[in-house]
């Protein structure tokens, strides 16, 4: 089956599938029909829209069906960075099935244990399944240990699953958290199932656009606030450039003091260079 590749560095041609492109014929056709579906579901009389829906001999229905049949993918920007005393994880919130945004407020930062979280990129189904397994393993393990699990163990369990099923999975993971032994730490598990401990890591299709930015901006021993700003800035830039990343920005900060979640709605995402200002709306 055709699967969308979303992790940076996969470099395979199938990648084009997740990049939303209005230039492609399929995209244009879809836009053309988008007006009609509005009529069909919202505005037209049922009799009129029914005839509209059918007048093309089911072409539109087939087209939409084809979009929705694409695998649900996290065409994504994810990041986790360590600072003095903890880690900050960040992610955009876009989930796509082909060109269709299946969910614009996705939570790609999933808890594995109280003190360990995971950033998911690739197939939504695959990474959800992996996360669920690791959660379960860690719960058992925490009972065995009678204390908090280590970030390293969580990463190792995820890595084992990715590596042993590398032919079936489409998953790029970043595992980060805080524990007594190692403090705040970031571990990355890319497509093939390598496990690396790194000071910071970026992943997903959007990460390709911000490698240089992150190399420039990340510093060791940042404060929590500096690190949070770094993460938000990195995700903002990636969302501006990468068509498969977008929506709002979610972050999770983990330190010895616990876990803190933050949410930046799309209206508050700072505009990048060359972008147009958000249109004014009543609520914002």
């Amino acid at each position: 089956m055709f699967k969308a590749a979303l992790h940076s560095g996969s470099g395979k041609p199938r990648r084009r599938a997740t990049v939303s492109s209005p230039h492609k014929p399929a995209g244009r056709k879809l836009l053309e029909w988008r007006g009609r579906i509005d009529q069909h579901f919202g505005y037209g009389s049922s009799e009129a829209s029914r005839s509209l829906y059918l007048e093309d001999g089911g072409q539109y229905a087939a087209l939409l069906q084809a979009e929705l049949e694409q695998p649900v993918s996290l065409g994504t920007t994810i990041i986790a960075a360590s600072y003095a005393g903890g880690v900050v994880l960040g992610a955009d919130s876009r989930t796509t099935t082909g060109n269709y945004i299946a969910n614009r407020v996705t939570d790609k930062i999933t808890p594995l244990a109280e003190n360990v979280y995971i950033c998911r990129s690739g197939s939504a189904a695959d990474t959800q399944a992996i996360s669920a397994y690791v959660q379960w393993f860690l719960q058992q393990h925490a009972v065995d240990l009678d204390r908090h699990v280590s970030v390293k163990t969580a990463a190792k369990l995820a890595q084992t699953m990715v590596y042993q099923n590398k032919n079936m999975l489409q998953a790029g993971l970043i595992i980060a958290g805080w524990d007594k032994q190692g403090g705040g730490s970031v571990h990355t598990v890319p497509l093939g199932g390598t496990l690396l401990q790194v000071p910071y890591s970026i992943g997903g299709s959007g990460s390709a656009y911000i490698t240089g930015l992150c190399d420039k901006l990340w510093r060791p021993h940042m404060t929590q606030q500096e690190c949070h700003e770094f993460v938000v800035k990195a995700v903002t830039h990636a969302m501006a450039r990468d068509g498969s990343s977008g929506g709002c920005i979610r972050t999770v900060t983990i330190s010895k003091d616990g876990v803190k979640r933050d949410f930046l709605p799309h209206t508050r995402v700072p505009i990048a260079y060359g972008e147009m200002q958000q249109p004014m709306s009543v609520g914002a």
């Binding site: 393990h141 065995d144 240990l145 280590s150 390293k152 163990t153 990463a155 190792k156 369990l157 084992t160 007594k180 032994q181 496990l195």
Partner: protein
């Protein structure tokens, strides 16, 4: 059907009317009749000492080892039937390797002690096996600091400040209780263990002393006490013993 066990001691799967498993008790006896093994937890590590009776004058020294490293941070001393003990040591090594492979971290001492105890306990459950005639002292030094565990044939695991098993355990334990373990360093502990084992061994029969430790000085790795230090400890032990005899 008369005598000591009166039929209730034939299988490990039979309780006696007053609720005991005789086979398990016999296994414990096999340990209690063996050479003395002493373990103490000092402020900077753990010291194990094993008293090994020398069966023959023709025996090459240093053979039949009874202390084993399990992984870098854990080691064991065998009391009782050493062949049985080695089986448990093998299992401990497997558990440690498997844990590291699965979780990516070194197995904590208390987890290993419980797993080993569970393994030992299996041999108290089925009629077609016999319990191990060995007990093990396990020394570990991990994120929890230095720890000493005793695993017995019944499948129990306990954590100790210091303990002794084997023939001379009673007087060895009273000697250990006199030590100030919170102030004692392993270097001093080695001498104390040597003293205790020499005191406990009151017969004229020759014996070999095997000393192992895991401490800051050994780089938190389970190792045999360096030969020079072991020899010095034994010398001091003998001198102290002679002094006691004279006074």
């Amino acid at each position: 059907m008369s005598g000591i066990g009166t039929g209730y001691d034939l299988s490990v799967s039979t309780f006696s009317p007053d609720g005991r498993v005789f086979q398990t008790a016999y296994a414990q006896k096999a340990v209690d009749n063996g050479g003395t093994v002493v373990g103490i937890r000092c402020k900077d590590g753990v010291v194990l000492g094993v008293e090994k009776p020398v069966a023959s004058k023709m025996l090459v020294g240093g053979s039949n080892r009874s202390t084993y490293p399990i992984n870098q941070q854990t080691g064991m001393g065998i009391a009782g039937v050493s062949a049985d003990g080695r089986q448990i040591v093998n299992r401990a090594m497997q558990e440690a390797t498997q844990y590291k492979g699965f979780y990516g971290e070194v197995i904590p001492g208390y987890v290993l002690s419980e797993r080993i105890a569970s393994y030992v306990h299996l041999f108290n459950l089925y009629w077609y096996v016999r319990p191990f005639g060995a007990a093990l002292l396990m020394a570990s030094y991990d994120s929890e600091g230095p720890q000493l565990y005793l695993i017995e044939p019944g499948g129990t695991a306990h954590r100790y400040f210091g303990t002794a098993i084997g023939k001379g355990r009673q007087s060895a334990k009273t000697d250990i209780e006199k030590l100030k373990l919170t102030e004692l360093s392993c270097r001093q502990g080695v001498v104390e263990v040597a003293k205790i084992l020499h005191t406990v061994h009151d017969e004229e029969k020759p014996f070999e002393l095997e000393l192992a430790w895991i401490c800051d000085e050994s780089n938190k790795e389970f190792k045999r006490v360096p030969a020079d230090l072991a020899a010095e400890a034994e010398q001091q032990a003998k001198a102290a013993l002679d002094e006691d005899m004279d006074s």
